[in-house]
Symmetry: C2
Subunit: 318 residues, 2 copies
Protein backbone atom coordinates (compact mmCIF):
# COMPACT_ATOMS: atom_id res chain seq x y z
CA UNK A 1 0.00 0.00 0.00
CA UNK A 2 1.48 3.34 -1.08
CA UNK A 3 0.47 6.06 1.36
CA UNK A 4 1.32 9.74 1.12
CA UNK A 5 1.06 11.81 4.30
CA UNK A 6 1.18 15.59 4.51
CA UNK A 7 2.89 16.41 7.78
CA UNK A 8 3.63 19.33 10.02
CA UNK A 9 5.66 18.88 13.19
CA UNK A 10 4.73 17.18 16.43
CA UNK A 11 1.19 16.05 15.53
CA UNK A 12 2.27 14.79 12.13
CA UNK A 13 5.27 12.98 13.51
CA UNK A 14 3.31 11.22 16.24
CA UNK A 15 0.59 10.22 13.81
CA UNK A 16 3.23 8.77 11.50
CA UNK A 17 4.55 6.60 14.29
CA UNK A 18 1.04 5.24 14.74
CA UNK A 19 0.64 4.76 11.00
CA UNK A 20 3.86 2.77 10.78
CA UNK A 21 2.60 0.53 13.59
CA UNK A 22 -0.80 0.16 11.94
CA UNK A 23 0.58 -0.53 8.47
CA UNK A 24 4.09 -1.89 8.93
CA UNK A 25 4.38 -3.01 5.31
CA UNK A 26 3.11 0.20 3.77
CA UNK A 27 5.32 2.33 1.55
CA UNK A 28 4.96 5.72 3.21
CA UNK A 29 6.02 9.02 1.67
CA UNK A 30 5.84 12.09 3.88
CA UNK A 31 5.53 15.55 2.35
CA UNK A 32 6.84 17.79 5.09
CA UNK A 33 5.99 21.41 5.75
CA UNK A 34 8.96 23.76 5.36
CA UNK A 35 7.09 27.02 5.96
CA UNK A 36 8.31 26.90 9.56
CA UNK A 37 11.94 26.89 8.42
CA UNK A 38 14.05 29.68 9.80
CA UNK A 39 17.62 30.91 9.55
CA UNK A 40 19.19 31.22 12.97
CA UNK A 41 22.83 32.17 13.52
CA UNK A 42 23.45 31.72 9.82
CA UNK A 43 22.16 28.15 9.97
CA UNK A 44 19.14 26.70 8.20
CA UNK A 45 16.73 25.18 10.70
CA UNK A 46 13.83 22.98 9.51
CA UNK A 47 11.77 22.31 12.64
CA UNK A 48 9.01 20.22 11.06
CA UNK A 49 11.26 18.02 8.95
CA UNK A 50 13.51 17.44 11.94
CA UNK A 51 10.64 16.62 14.27
CA UNK A 52 9.47 13.93 11.83
CA UNK A 53 13.01 12.64 11.35
CA UNK A 54 13.92 12.58 15.04
CA UNK A 55 10.54 11.11 16.09
CA UNK A 56 10.60 8.26 13.60
CA UNK A 57 14.36 7.77 13.99
CA UNK A 58 14.26 7.42 17.76
CA UNK A 59 16.08 10.65 18.59
CA UNK A 60 13.21 12.83 19.75
CA UNK A 61 12.76 14.32 23.20
CA UNK A 62 9.56 12.43 24.00
CA UNK A 63 8.36 14.79 26.72
CA UNK A 64 8.43 17.98 24.71
CA UNK A 65 7.78 16.38 21.33
CA UNK A 66 10.51 18.33 19.54
CA UNK A 67 14.28 18.54 19.82
CA UNK A 68 16.69 15.81 20.76
CA UNK A 69 16.74 13.46 23.69
CA UNK A 70 19.73 13.88 26.03
CA UNK A 71 20.14 17.41 24.81
CA UNK A 72 22.55 20.00 26.25
CA UNK A 73 22.74 23.73 25.62
CA UNK A 74 26.37 24.79 25.68
CA UNK A 75 26.32 26.43 22.24
CA UNK A 76 23.17 28.37 23.09
CA UNK A 77 24.65 29.58 26.39
CA UNK A 78 27.79 30.70 24.61
CA UNK A 79 25.87 32.55 21.92
CA UNK A 80 24.05 34.36 24.69
CA UNK A 81 27.38 35.20 26.33
CA UNK A 82 28.44 36.73 23.00
CA UNK A 83 25.21 38.74 23.04
CA UNK A 84 24.14 37.13 19.80
CA UNK A 85 20.44 36.46 19.47
CA UNK A 86 17.73 35.41 19.19
CA UNK A 87 17.71 33.54 22.49
CA UNK A 88 14.06 32.53 22.40
CA UNK A 89 14.57 29.57 20.09
CA UNK A 90 15.73 26.52 22.02
CA UNK A 91 18.47 25.02 19.89
CA UNK A 92 20.41 22.31 21.68
CA UNK A 93 23.93 21.13 20.97
CA UNK A 94 22.83 17.88 19.30
CA UNK A 95 20.27 19.74 17.24
CA UNK A 96 22.90 22.28 16.17
CA UNK A 97 24.88 19.50 14.50
CA UNK A 98 21.92 18.73 12.23
CA UNK A 99 21.66 22.37 11.22
CA UNK A 100 25.41 22.62 10.66
CA UNK A 101 25.38 19.60 8.35
CA UNK A 102 22.31 20.90 6.52
CA UNK A 103 23.71 24.39 6.08
CA UNK A 104 27.03 23.08 4.86
CA UNK A 105 25.33 20.85 2.27
CA UNK A 106 23.02 23.64 1.12
CA UNK A 107 26.06 25.91 0.82
CA UNK A 108 27.73 23.27 -1.32
CA UNK A 109 24.76 23.44 -3.69
CA UNK A 110 22.61 20.48 -2.71
CA UNK A 111 18.86 21.16 -2.69
CA UNK A 112 16.97 20.69 0.57
CA UNK A 113 15.43 17.47 -0.70
CA UNK A 114 18.87 15.92 -1.23
CA UNK A 115 20.04 17.21 2.15
CA UNK A 116 16.98 15.75 3.86
CA UNK A 117 17.64 12.40 2.21
CA UNK A 118 21.24 12.51 3.40
CA UNK A 119 20.23 13.32 6.99
CA UNK A 120 17.70 10.48 6.89
CA UNK A 121 20.49 8.08 5.93
CA UNK A 122 21.46 8.29 9.55
CA UNK A 123 18.02 8.35 11.12
CA UNK A 124 16.37 5.70 9.00
CA UNK A 125 12.87 7.00 9.74
CA UNK A 126 11.25 4.14 7.83
CA UNK A 127 9.40 6.57 5.56
CA UNK A 128 10.51 8.61 2.59
CA UNK A 129 10.69 12.16 3.89
CA UNK A 130 10.39 14.90 1.27
CA UNK A 131 10.28 18.63 1.89
CA UNK A 132 7.22 20.13 0.19
CA UNK A 133 9.58 22.30 -1.87
CA UNK A 134 13.27 23.02 -2.33
CA UNK A 135 12.43 26.70 -2.64
CA UNK A 136 12.35 29.12 0.24
CA UNK A 137 8.87 29.53 1.71
CA UNK A 138 8.43 31.28 5.04
CA UNK A 139 5.17 31.52 6.90
CA UNK A 140 4.68 35.01 8.25
CA UNK A 141 1.99 36.05 10.69
CA UNK A 142 0.52 39.55 10.81
CA UNK A 143 0.01 40.80 14.36
CA UNK A 144 -0.68 43.99 16.25
CA UNK A 145 2.21 44.75 18.57
CA UNK A 146 1.86 47.86 20.73
CA UNK A 147 -0.67 49.25 18.30
CA UNK A 148 1.51 48.68 15.27
CA UNK A 149 0.76 46.07 12.63
CA UNK A 150 3.79 43.90 11.96
CA UNK A 151 4.53 40.70 10.09
CA UNK A 152 6.60 38.27 12.13
CA UNK A 153 8.09 34.93 11.20
CA UNK A 154 5.85 32.06 12.26
CA UNK A 155 8.48 30.88 14.75
CA UNK A 156 8.58 34.31 16.30
CA UNK A 157 4.78 34.25 16.65
CA UNK A 158 4.69 30.78 18.04
CA UNK A 159 7.86 30.49 20.11
CA UNK A 160 8.72 34.04 21.14
CA UNK A 161 5.22 35.49 21.44
CA UNK A 162 3.73 32.10 22.41
CA UNK A 163 0.71 32.95 20.25
CA UNK A 164 -0.33 35.41 22.95
CA UNK A 165 -1.67 37.96 20.47
CA UNK A 166 -4.22 37.45 17.72
CA UNK A 167 -3.00 36.41 14.30
CA UNK A 168 -4.54 38.87 11.84
CA UNK A 169 -3.31 37.09 8.73
CA UNK A 170 -1.10 34.16 7.79
CA UNK A 171 0.98 34.40 4.63
CA UNK A 172 3.23 31.65 3.27
CA UNK A 173 5.75 34.08 1.76
CA UNK A 174 7.31 32.68 -1.39
CA UNK A 175 4.78 29.87 -1.79
CA UNK A 176 3.32 31.23 -5.02
CA UNK A 177 6.72 31.12 -6.71
CA UNK A 178 7.67 27.73 -5.28
CA UNK A 179 7.71 24.37 -7.00
CA UNK A 180 7.06 20.99 -5.41
CA UNK A 181 10.33 19.25 -4.49
CA UNK A 182 11.50 16.39 -6.71
CA UNK A 183 9.45 13.29 -5.93
CA UNK A 184 6.43 15.08 -4.47
CA UNK A 185 4.18 15.01 -7.53
CA UNK A 186 5.43 11.56 -8.47
CA UNK A 187 4.56 10.22 -5.01
CA UNK A 188 1.09 11.73 -5.22
CA UNK A 189 0.56 10.30 -8.70
CA UNK A 190 1.45 6.82 -7.42
CA UNK A 191 -0.35 7.09 -4.07
CA UNK A 192 -3.14 4.71 -3.16
CA UNK A 193 -4.20 6.75 -0.14
CA UNK A 194 -3.44 10.33 0.93
CA UNK A 195 -3.71 11.18 4.62
CA UNK A 196 -3.86 14.50 6.46
CA UNK A 197 -2.76 13.86 10.07
CA UNK A 198 -4.21 15.99 12.87
CA UNK A 199 -1.71 18.73 12.02
CA UNK A 200 -2.43 22.43 11.92
CA UNK A 201 -4.75 22.96 8.92
CA UNK A 202 -3.40 26.45 8.27
CA UNK A 203 0.34 26.65 8.95
CA UNK A 204 1.18 22.97 8.41
CA UNK A 205 -1.11 21.29 5.89
CA UNK A 206 -2.35 24.62 4.52
CA UNK A 207 1.19 25.70 3.72
CA UNK A 208 1.95 22.44 1.92
CA UNK A 209 -1.24 22.87 -0.11
CA UNK A 210 -0.11 26.41 -0.98
CA UNK A 211 2.74 25.10 -3.08
CA UNK A 212 1.35 25.33 -6.62
CA UNK A 213 0.67 21.88 -8.01
CA UNK A 214 0.34 19.93 -4.77
CA UNK A 215 -3.36 20.58 -4.12
CA UNK A 216 -4.12 19.81 -7.76
CA UNK A 217 -2.06 16.61 -7.70
CA UNK A 218 -3.95 15.40 -4.63
CA UNK A 219 -7.34 16.22 -6.14
CA UNK A 220 -6.40 14.58 -9.42
CA UNK A 221 -4.82 11.47 -7.91
CA UNK A 222 -8.22 9.81 -7.89
CA UNK A 223 -7.50 8.01 -4.61
CA UNK A 224 -9.09 8.37 -1.18
CA UNK A 225 -7.97 11.47 0.71
CA UNK A 226 -8.71 11.15 4.41
CA UNK A 227 -7.98 13.57 7.21
CA UNK A 228 -8.09 13.53 11.01
CA UNK A 229 -9.42 16.52 12.88
CA UNK A 230 -6.90 18.44 14.98
CA UNK A 231 -9.88 20.13 16.66
CA UNK A 232 -11.59 18.22 19.46
CA UNK A 233 -14.52 19.68 21.35
CA UNK A 234 -14.02 23.10 19.78
CA UNK A 235 -10.34 23.47 20.70
CA UNK A 236 -7.02 22.31 19.27
CA UNK A 237 -5.66 19.18 20.96
CA UNK A 238 -2.33 20.98 21.14
CA UNK A 239 -0.78 24.02 19.53
CA UNK A 240 -2.63 27.11 18.36
CA UNK A 241 -4.73 26.01 15.42
CA UNK A 242 -7.55 28.16 16.84
CA UNK A 243 -5.51 31.35 16.42
CA UNK A 244 -4.57 30.35 12.90
CA UNK A 245 -8.11 29.35 11.94
CA UNK A 246 -9.44 32.68 13.21
CA UNK A 247 -6.88 34.47 11.05
CA UNK A 248 -8.31 32.86 7.94
CA UNK A 249 -11.93 33.18 9.07
CA UNK A 250 -12.59 29.53 9.84
CA UNK A 251 -14.42 28.46 12.98
CA UNK A 252 -12.44 26.34 15.46
CA UNK A 253 -14.62 23.28 15.01
CA UNK A 254 -14.02 19.80 13.63
CA UNK A 255 -16.68 20.22 10.92
CA UNK A 256 -15.49 23.67 9.90
CA UNK A 257 -11.97 22.42 9.23
CA UNK A 258 -13.29 19.64 6.99
CA UNK A 259 -15.43 22.14 5.10
CA UNK A 260 -12.40 24.43 4.80
CA UNK A 261 -10.47 21.64 3.03
CA UNK A 262 -13.65 21.00 1.04
CA UNK A 263 -15.13 18.00 -0.70
CA UNK A 264 -13.11 18.80 -3.81
CA UNK A 265 -10.01 17.78 -1.89
CA UNK A 266 -11.16 15.65 1.02
CA UNK A 267 -13.06 12.36 0.74
CA UNK A 268 -13.12 11.28 4.36
CA UNK A 269 -12.80 12.96 7.76
CA UNK A 270 -12.37 11.56 11.23
CA UNK A 271 -13.68 13.58 14.16
CA UNK A 272 -13.23 12.72 17.79
CA UNK A 273 -15.91 10.80 19.65
CA UNK A 274 -16.58 14.01 21.54
CA UNK A 275 -17.66 15.58 18.24
CA UNK A 276 -20.16 12.96 17.13
CA UNK A 277 -22.57 15.81 16.56
CA UNK A 278 -20.34 17.10 13.75
CA UNK A 279 -20.62 13.96 11.62
CA UNK A 280 -23.89 14.92 9.97
CA UNK A 281 -22.63 18.40 9.10
CA UNK A 282 -19.47 17.02 7.49
CA UNK A 283 -21.36 14.41 5.53
CA UNK A 284 -23.79 17.10 4.38
CA UNK A 285 -20.77 18.84 2.90
CA UNK A 286 -20.09 15.75 0.82
CA UNK A 287 -17.29 14.31 2.95
CA UNK A 288 -17.62 10.82 4.48
CA UNK A 289 -17.22 11.16 8.25
CA UNK A 290 -16.83 8.99 11.34
CA UNK A 291 -16.40 9.77 15.00
CA UNK A 292 -13.63 7.79 16.72
CA UNK A 293 -11.21 8.48 19.59
CA UNK A 294 -8.62 10.97 18.30
CA UNK A 295 -6.32 11.53 21.27
CA UNK A 296 -2.76 10.36 20.54
CA UNK A 297 -2.15 9.39 24.16
CA UNK A 298 0.14 6.50 23.31
CA UNK A 299 1.30 4.42 20.37
CA UNK A 300 -1.64 2.01 20.59
CA UNK A 301 -4.20 4.82 20.54
CA UNK A 302 -2.37 6.49 17.64
CA UNK A 303 -2.13 3.24 15.68
CA UNK A 304 -5.87 2.75 16.20
CA UNK A 305 -6.48 6.22 14.73
CA UNK A 306 -4.34 5.36 11.72
CA UNK A 307 -6.28 2.10 11.24
CA UNK A 308 -9.55 4.05 11.36
CA UNK A 309 -8.22 6.47 8.74
CA UNK A 310 -7.15 3.62 6.45
CA UNK A 311 -10.50 1.86 7.00
CA UNK A 312 -12.35 5.05 6.07
CA UNK A 313 -10.17 5.33 2.97
CA UNK A 314 -11.20 1.80 1.92
CA UNK A 315 -14.82 2.65 2.60
CA UNK A 316 -14.50 5.71 0.39
CA UNK A 317 -12.75 3.71 -2.33
CA UNK A 318 -15.48 1.11 -2.31
CA UNK B 1 54.82 51.87 26.44
CA UNK B 2 53.33 50.77 23.13
CA UNK B 3 54.26 47.16 22.40
CA UNK B 4 53.41 45.16 19.29
CA UNK B 5 53.62 41.38 19.54
CA UNK B 6 53.49 38.94 16.63
CA UNK B 7 51.72 35.87 17.92
CA UNK B 8 50.95 32.33 16.91
CA UNK B 9 48.86 30.11 19.15
CA UNK B 10 49.73 28.50 22.46
CA UNK B 11 53.29 29.84 22.86
CA UNK B 12 52.28 33.34 21.82
CA UNK B 13 49.24 33.37 24.08
CA UNK B 14 51.16 32.20 27.14
CA UNK B 15 53.92 34.70 26.50
CA UNK B 16 51.33 37.47 26.25
CA UNK B 17 49.96 36.52 29.64
CA UNK B 18 53.47 36.93 31.04
CA UNK B 19 53.95 40.21 29.20
CA UNK B 20 50.73 41.63 30.63
CA UNK B 21 51.94 40.68 34.11
CA UNK B 22 55.38 42.18 33.46
CA UNK B 23 54.06 45.40 31.93
CA UNK B 24 50.53 45.90 33.27
CA UNK B 25 50.31 49.48 32.00
CA UNK B 26 51.61 48.78 28.52
CA UNK B 27 49.43 49.32 25.47
CA UNK B 28 49.75 45.96 23.73
CA UNK B 29 48.70 45.23 20.16
CA UNK B 30 48.84 41.62 19.01
CA UNK B 31 49.17 40.78 15.34
CA UNK B 32 47.81 37.26 15.17
CA UNK B 33 48.63 34.56 12.68
CA UNK B 34 45.68 33.51 10.53
CA UNK B 35 47.53 31.08 8.28
CA UNK B 36 46.26 28.27 10.53
CA UNK B 37 42.65 29.24 9.82
CA UNK B 38 40.51 26.49 8.40
CA UNK B 39 36.96 26.00 7.21
CA UNK B 40 35.35 23.08 9.00
CA UNK B 41 31.71 22.11 8.54
CA UNK B 42 31.15 25.35 6.68
CA UNK B 43 32.42 27.36 9.65
CA UNK B 44 35.44 29.60 9.79
CA UNK B 45 37.82 28.48 12.51
CA UNK B 46 40.74 30.73 13.60
CA UNK B 47 42.75 28.58 16.01
CA UNK B 48 45.54 31.05 16.77
CA UNK B 49 43.32 34.10 17.26
CA UNK B 50 41.02 32.07 19.49
CA UNK B 51 43.85 30.67 21.56
CA UNK B 52 45.08 34.20 22.28
CA UNK B 53 41.53 35.41 22.99
CA UNK B 54 40.58 32.50 25.23
CA UNK B 55 43.93 32.48 27.07
CA UNK B 56 43.92 36.19 27.87
CA UNK B 57 40.16 36.22 28.45
CA UNK B 58 40.20 33.41 30.99
CA UNK B 59 38.36 30.84 28.89
CA UNK B 60 41.20 28.57 27.85
CA UNK B 61 41.60 24.91 28.72
CA UNK B 62 44.79 25.34 30.75
CA UNK B 63 45.95 21.74 30.51
CA UNK B 64 45.91 21.44 26.74
CA UNK B 65 46.61 25.10 26.01
CA UNK B 66 43.91 25.41 23.36
CA UNK B 67 40.12 25.11 23.32
CA UNK B 68 37.69 26.04 26.05
CA UNK B 69 37.62 25.08 29.69
CA UNK B 70 34.60 22.99 30.73
CA UNK B 71 34.21 21.87 27.16
CA UNK B 72 31.80 19.18 25.91
CA UNK B 73 31.63 17.45 22.55
CA UNK B 74 28.00 16.80 21.68
CA UNK B 75 28.10 18.57 18.32
CA UNK B 76 31.25 16.71 17.31
CA UNK B 77 29.75 13.36 18.30
CA UNK B 78 26.63 14.12 16.30
CA UNK B 79 28.59 15.18 13.22
CA UNK B 80 30.40 11.86 13.47
CA UNK B 81 27.06 10.07 13.73
CA UNK B 82 26.07 11.81 10.50
CA UNK B 83 29.29 10.56 8.94
CA UNK B 84 30.38 14.12 8.31
CA UNK B 85 34.08 14.78 8.68
CA UNK B 86 36.74 15.60 9.39
CA UNK B 87 36.70 14.07 12.86
CA UNK B 88 40.36 14.70 13.66
CA UNK B 89 39.85 18.33 14.64
CA UNK B 90 38.66 18.60 18.24
CA UNK B 91 35.96 21.25 18.13
CA UNK B 92 33.99 21.45 21.36
CA UNK B 93 30.47 22.75 21.84
CA UNK B 94 31.59 26.02 23.45
CA UNK B 95 34.18 26.55 20.76
CA UNK B 96 31.57 25.90 18.06
CA UNK B 97 29.61 28.93 19.27
CA UNK B 98 32.60 31.17 18.55
CA UNK B 99 32.87 29.80 15.03
CA UNK B 100 29.14 30.14 14.46
CA UNK B 101 29.18 33.80 15.50
CA UNK B 102 32.29 34.47 13.41
CA UNK B 103 30.89 32.74 10.32
CA UNK B 104 27.59 34.55 10.62
CA UNK B 105 29.33 37.93 10.87
CA UNK B 106 31.67 37.15 7.97
CA UNK B 107 28.64 36.09 5.95
CA UNK B 108 27.00 39.40 6.77
CA UNK B 109 30.00 41.15 5.25
CA UNK B 110 32.14 42.12 8.23
CA UNK B 111 35.89 41.64 7.73
CA UNK B 112 37.74 39.28 10.07
CA UNK B 113 39.31 42.22 11.91
CA UNK B 114 35.87 43.60 12.80
CA UNK B 115 34.65 40.14 13.76
CA UNK B 116 37.68 39.60 15.99
CA UNK B 117 37.05 42.93 17.68
CA UNK B 118 33.41 41.95 18.27
CA UNK B 119 34.39 38.60 19.77
CA UNK B 120 36.92 40.34 22.02
CA UNK B 121 34.13 42.58 23.34
CA UNK B 122 33.11 39.56 25.32
CA UNK B 123 36.52 38.21 26.25
CA UNK B 124 38.24 41.49 27.12
CA UNK B 125 41.71 40.07 26.55
CA UNK B 126 43.37 43.28 27.70
CA UNK B 127 45.25 43.62 24.42
CA UNK B 128 44.19 44.81 21.00
CA UNK B 129 44.00 41.64 18.93
CA UNK B 130 44.32 42.10 15.17
CA UNK B 131 44.44 39.38 12.55
CA UNK B 132 47.51 39.80 10.36
CA UNK B 133 45.16 40.19 7.37
CA UNK B 134 41.49 40.19 6.49
CA UNK B 135 42.34 38.22 3.35
CA UNK B 136 42.38 34.47 3.15
CA UNK B 137 45.81 33.00 3.72
CA UNK B 138 46.20 29.28 4.31
CA UNK B 139 49.42 27.59 5.26
CA UNK B 140 49.89 24.42 3.26
CA UNK B 141 52.53 21.81 3.90
CA UNK B 142 53.99 19.60 1.18
CA UNK B 143 54.42 16.00 2.29
CA UNK B 144 55.10 12.58 0.86
CA UNK B 145 52.15 10.29 1.63
CA UNK B 146 52.46 6.71 0.43
CA UNK B 147 55.03 7.79 -2.10
CA UNK B 148 52.90 10.59 -3.48
CA UNK B 149 53.69 14.24 -2.97
CA UNK B 150 50.69 16.13 -1.65
CA UNK B 151 49.99 19.56 -0.20
CA UNK B 152 47.90 19.39 2.96
CA UNK B 153 46.44 22.15 5.08
CA UNK B 154 48.66 22.98 8.03
CA UNK B 155 46.02 21.73 10.44
CA UNK B 156 45.87 18.44 8.61
CA UNK B 157 49.65 18.15 8.89
CA UNK B 158 49.75 19.11 12.51
CA UNK B 159 46.55 17.66 13.96
CA UNK B 160 45.66 14.73 11.73
CA UNK B 161 49.15 13.56 10.77
CA UNK B 162 50.65 14.79 14.05
CA UNK B 163 53.68 15.99 12.11
CA UNK B 164 54.66 12.33 11.75
CA UNK B 165 56.04 12.77 8.23
CA UNK B 166 58.62 15.24 7.03
CA UNK B 167 57.45 18.63 5.82
CA UNK B 168 59.03 19.11 2.39
CA UNK B 169 57.86 22.67 1.95
CA UNK B 170 55.68 25.22 3.71
CA UNK B 171 53.63 27.63 1.61
CA UNK B 172 51.41 30.39 2.99
CA UNK B 173 48.93 30.19 0.13
CA UNK B 174 47.42 33.57 -0.64
CA UNK B 175 49.96 35.53 1.39
CA UNK B 176 51.47 37.29 -1.62
CA UNK B 177 48.10 38.77 -2.55
CA UNK B 178 47.12 39.66 1.00
CA UNK B 179 47.13 43.05 2.66
CA UNK B 180 47.74 43.78 6.35
CA UNK B 181 44.48 44.11 8.26
CA UNK B 182 43.34 47.62 9.21
CA UNK B 183 45.39 48.82 12.16
CA UNK B 184 48.39 46.53 11.63
CA UNK B 185 50.69 48.99 9.86
CA UNK B 186 49.46 51.84 12.07
CA UNK B 187 50.28 49.84 15.22
CA UNK B 188 53.76 49.06 13.90
CA UNK B 189 54.35 52.70 12.99
CA UNK B 190 53.44 53.76 16.53
CA UNK B 191 55.18 50.88 18.32
CA UNK B 192 57.98 51.54 20.81
CA UNK B 193 58.97 47.88 20.97
CA UNK B 194 58.19 44.89 18.74
CA UNK B 195 58.37 41.42 20.27
CA UNK B 196 58.50 37.94 18.71
CA UNK B 197 57.34 35.46 21.37
CA UNK B 198 58.73 31.92 21.35
CA UNK B 199 56.24 31.00 18.62
CA UNK B 200 56.95 28.87 15.59
CA UNK B 201 59.32 30.92 13.41
CA UNK B 202 57.97 29.40 10.21
CA UNK B 203 54.23 28.78 10.42
CA UNK B 204 53.40 31.41 13.05
CA UNK B 205 55.73 34.41 12.91
CA UNK B 206 56.99 33.51 9.43
CA UNK B 207 53.46 33.55 8.05
CA UNK B 208 52.74 36.95 9.58
CA UNK B 209 55.97 38.28 8.05
CA UNK B 210 54.85 36.87 4.68
CA UNK B 211 52.03 39.40 4.46
CA UNK B 212 53.49 42.07 2.17
CA UNK B 213 54.20 45.23 4.11
CA UNK B 214 54.49 43.79 7.60
CA UNK B 215 58.18 42.83 7.51
CA UNK B 216 58.99 46.21 5.95
CA UNK B 217 56.94 48.09 8.54
CA UNK B 218 58.79 46.33 11.36
CA UNK B 219 62.20 46.99 9.83
CA UNK B 220 61.33 50.62 9.17
CA UNK B 221 59.71 51.28 12.56
CA UNK B 222 63.12 52.20 13.94
CA UNK B 223 62.36 50.66 17.33
CA UNK B 224 63.88 47.65 19.09
CA UNK B 225 62.72 44.30 17.73
CA UNK B 226 63.38 41.52 20.21
CA UNK B 227 62.59 37.83 19.92
CA UNK B 228 62.65 34.81 22.23
CA UNK B 229 63.94 31.50 20.96
CA UNK B 230 61.36 28.72 20.64
CA UNK B 231 64.31 26.31 20.34
CA UNK B 232 65.98 25.18 23.54
CA UNK B 233 68.86 22.75 23.54
CA UNK B 234 68.38 21.98 19.86
CA UNK B 235 64.68 21.07 20.08
CA UNK B 236 61.40 22.95 20.13
CA UNK B 237 60.02 23.50 23.63
CA UNK B 238 56.67 22.33 22.26
CA UNK B 239 55.16 21.85 18.85
CA UNK B 240 57.04 20.90 15.72
CA UNK B 241 59.18 23.89 14.84
CA UNK B 242 61.96 21.43 14.00
CA UNK B 243 59.93 19.90 11.17
CA UNK B 244 59.05 23.32 9.85
CA UNK B 245 62.61 24.64 10.10
CA UNK B 246 63.88 21.59 8.22
CA UNK B 247 61.38 22.30 5.46
CA UNK B 248 62.87 25.74 4.92
CA UNK B 249 66.47 24.58 5.37
CA UNK B 250 67.14 26.14 8.76
CA UNK B 251 68.90 24.23 11.51
CA UNK B 252 66.88 23.55 14.67
CA UNK B 253 69.07 25.69 16.86
CA UNK B 254 68.51 28.89 18.82
CA UNK B 255 71.21 30.77 16.89
CA UNK B 256 70.05 29.54 13.50
CA UNK B 257 66.54 30.88 14.08
CA UNK B 258 67.92 34.32 14.98
CA UNK B 259 70.06 34.30 11.85
CA UNK B 260 67.04 33.22 9.83
CA UNK B 261 65.16 36.33 10.98
CA UNK B 262 68.37 38.26 10.33
CA UNK B 263 69.89 41.43 11.70
CA UNK B 264 67.93 43.49 9.20
CA UNK B 265 64.79 42.60 11.14
CA UNK B 266 65.88 41.50 14.60
CA UNK B 267 67.80 43.67 17.08
CA UNK B 268 67.79 41.40 20.11
CA UNK B 269 67.40 37.68 20.78
CA UNK B 270 66.94 35.76 23.97
CA UNK B 271 68.17 32.17 24.11
CA UNK B 272 67.66 29.77 26.96
CA UNK B 273 70.32 29.39 29.64
CA UNK B 274 70.94 25.94 28.18
CA UNK B 275 72.09 27.63 24.98
CA UNK B 276 74.61 30.06 26.43
CA UNK B 277 77.03 28.80 23.83
CA UNK B 278 74.84 30.30 21.10
CA UNK B 279 75.18 33.87 22.36
CA UNK B 280 78.47 34.59 20.63
CA UNK B 281 77.21 33.22 17.30
CA UNK B 282 74.08 35.37 17.42
CA UNK B 283 76.05 38.47 18.34
CA UNK B 284 78.46 37.77 15.54
CA UNK B 285 75.46 37.95 13.22
CA UNK B 286 74.84 41.50 14.46
CA UNK B 287 72.00 40.66 16.86
CA UNK B 288 72.31 41.52 20.57
CA UNK B 289 71.83 38.29 22.54
CA UNK B 290 71.39 37.12 26.12
CA UNK B 291 70.90 33.71 27.70
CA UNK B 292 68.11 33.57 30.29
CA UNK B 293 65.63 30.89 31.45
CA UNK B 294 63.06 30.49 28.66
CA UNK B 295 60.71 27.82 29.96
CA UNK B 296 57.15 29.15 30.43
CA UNK B 297 56.48 26.83 33.36
CA UNK B 298 54.21 29.28 35.16
CA UNK B 299 53.11 32.90 35.06
CA UNK B 300 56.07 34.12 37.15
CA UNK B 301 58.61 32.44 34.90
CA UNK B 302 56.84 33.80 31.82
CA UNK B 303 56.64 37.32 33.23
CA UNK B 304 60.37 37.13 33.96
CA UNK B 305 61.00 36.23 30.32
CA UNK B 306 58.92 39.19 29.19
CA UNK B 307 60.88 41.48 31.52
CA UNK B 308 64.13 40.18 30.06
CA UNK B 309 62.84 40.87 26.56
CA UNK B 310 61.84 44.41 27.46
CA UNK B 311 65.18 44.96 29.21
CA UNK B 312 67.03 43.77 26.12
CA UNK B 313 64.92 46.12 24.04
CA UNK B 314 65.96 49.05 26.24
CA UNK B 315 69.60 47.96 26.00
CA UNK B 316 69.30 47.90 22.21
CA UNK B 317 67.60 51.29 22.18
CA UNK B 318 70.35 52.80 24.29
Amino acid sequence: MRIVVLAGGIGGARFLRGLKAAAPDADITVIGNTGDDIHLFGLKVCPDLDTVMYTLGGGINEEQGWGRTGETFQVKDELKAYGVGPDWFGLGDRDFATHIVRTQMLGAGYPLSAVTEALCERWQPGVRLLPMTDDRVETHVAVDLDGERRAVHFQEYWVRLRASVDALAVVPVGAEQSKPAPGVLEALAEAEVVLFPPSNPVVSIGTILAVPGIREAIAEAGVPVVGLSPIVGGAPVRGMADKMLSAIGVETAAAAVAEHYGSGLLDGWLVDSADTGAVAEVEAAGIRCRAVPLMMTDLDATAAMAREALALAEEVRA
